[in-house]
Amino acid sequence: MPDIIPENSIGIIVPETINFDEPLELACGRALVSYQLVIETYGELNSDKSNAILICHALSGYHHAAGYHSEDDQKPGWWNNHIGPGKPIDTNQFFVVCPNNLGGCHGSTGPSSINPETNEAWGVNFPPLRARDWVNSQARLADKLGINQWAAVIGGSLGGMQAMRWALEFPDRVRHVVVIAAAMKLSAQNIAFNEMARNAIKSDPDFKNGSFIKENTQPRNGLALARMIGHITYLSDEEMGNKFGRTLSAGSFQQGQYTPVEFQVESYLRHKGDTFSENFDANTYILMTKVLDYFDLAREYDNDPVKAFSHAKCDFLIVSFLSDWRFSSERSEEIVSALIDAKKNVSYAAITSDLGHDAFLLRNERYEKILAAYMSRLLKDPEKPKHSVNTPEAVL
């Protein structure tokens, strides 16, 4: 925790682990006999259970979206800028739920968990997942929390794709979907970046064909390199220029002598890669990038996004950032066009920002205003839960 707890922070948060004992059929044809999800919740569920918000995290995100874990925690959760008392996703108004996705490496069942059949870590044998598997696992989570219908499902990047899948898979269980810096499917260039990252991991001799936990090693260099590649694509040229320019962190170009030179951007990327590789599972990284690559919103709807969205019953807010080249505004505008043709309520904002794809995580006055305006609309929403869904009694 920083020296003084910021007043608009949700404070210290304790994650919860929820166990599921019913087998979960997966899109790949296999099933998880049992699994667990680690979640964090912020705010209070109201009496008619109509104020629940599901936050879907992105590729390397996890359940810790807001607040701090301990007094010594230097950094708050990954979306602390946007979730908290008085913030755009206002925890005084909403009950916010953020799970770590299945396949993750922060406590939810994933490749680094123990496979009950072998009593060893799953590793590469963990079933390949698709966004719909996450949605199905989260629908069961909603059942356990006693939530029939989310007031909103919100996500950025991969989380935004997942939020759209929610709208199609459980149209009666979500009133609003907020999709930030996402796309209906990845472009070839995007898949190429992911493949480069996966190759970086697999070429690390410590990867051991994915059995590194069993072999008691960690492919840190490969994972760090994968993260460096990803990180470059999440920033814009302008932002890297503004942040680092050609500033040196070591060495000199002075003629007549030679001291090896290091640009600031080099040490920054290495630091980012190293920190990441200490806290992330390489198999999870491979799994998550594949979920991204495989995602295609309209595949099961004759590749027609309008047909796909015609199954949705919720309203949509779509947000993009103009300097984001990994998930460009054009991709968001395709979502908007399909929603309009599918006769769905939709609003769209293209936010000016130099921060590239990462802008969705960061502070931006206009972004926060748009999000806050849309969220305040939810409170006036005349549509209260109207569809009855058979859910077991709340267990929490």
Partner: protein, 205 residues
């Protein structure tokens, strides 16, 4: 809710339950009132960040878009009516915008300030400078209104393009009830409201 005079007229021309696209929708006032009065299903396009936030707060479907970069994201005849109020004169290519409106909508409604109004004529004649009036309060160098036209100019463009004028109304704040604006709109009206369609059938007009 009190609406601008041109918006009030528009309301009477919009069929209930129709699908409306409002170009340069501002804070969504028109769509909001049409939703209440005529149960329309509407979307607005807007470029001003503040207005977009207000429209979202007003529970209006608002899409951030620059009308000057075209409307190719909308398919042919995907709306019943495409509306543009007080913005045609700010477009880089008003004629192409009209074409697009009639491609996307079965019909369209445009309103614009009539530059042939007696006040602007007197201003230009007596002062020898570009008119600055209460309604058109910008100077020539900072005005967003880069393509002013008069009622006659507009009807000439419609004739050139074979656009059918289904209906028209004129408002004059100085003479709200006066017959002058109807008899001689190019001189007396300050806002012109047109309903247009691309179909020129034998029974039309």
């Amino acid at each position: 809710m009190s609406l601008r005079t041109d918006l009030e007229f528009i309301q009477t021309w919009i069929a209930p339950n129709s699908r409306i696209l409002d170009l340069a929708c501002g804070d969504g006032t028109l769509l909001q009132s049409l939703k209440a009065s005529s149960q329309i299903e509407g979307y607005g396009l807007e470029i001003d960040p503040e207005k977009i936030t207000e429209a979202i707060s007003n529970n209006v479907n608002v899409i951030e878009a620059d009308l000057d970069s075209g409307l190719s994201q909308f398919s042919d005849n995907s709306f019943d009516t495409v509306v543009m109020t007080e913005a045609l004169q700010a477009m880089r290519n008003p004629d192409l915008v009209l074409d697009e409106m009639l491609r996307i909508g079965e019909n369209c409604i445009v309103t614009f300030p009539n530059f042939g109004n007696w006040q602007t004529r007197i201003f230009l004649a007596t002062q020898g400078q570009m008119p600055v009036t209460k309604k058109l309060s910008y100077q020539w160098y900072n005005t967003p209104n880069i393509h002013f036209c008069t009622v006659s100019d507009f009807e000439a463009l419609c004739a050139d393009k074979g656009i059918h004028i289904d209906n028209k109304k004129f408002t004059a704040d100085r003479f709200p009830g006066a017959w002058l604006k109807t008899l001689w709109p190019n001189l007396f009206s300050d806002t012109a409201i047109y309903m247009l369609s691309k179909h020129i059938g034998p029974n039309n007009d």
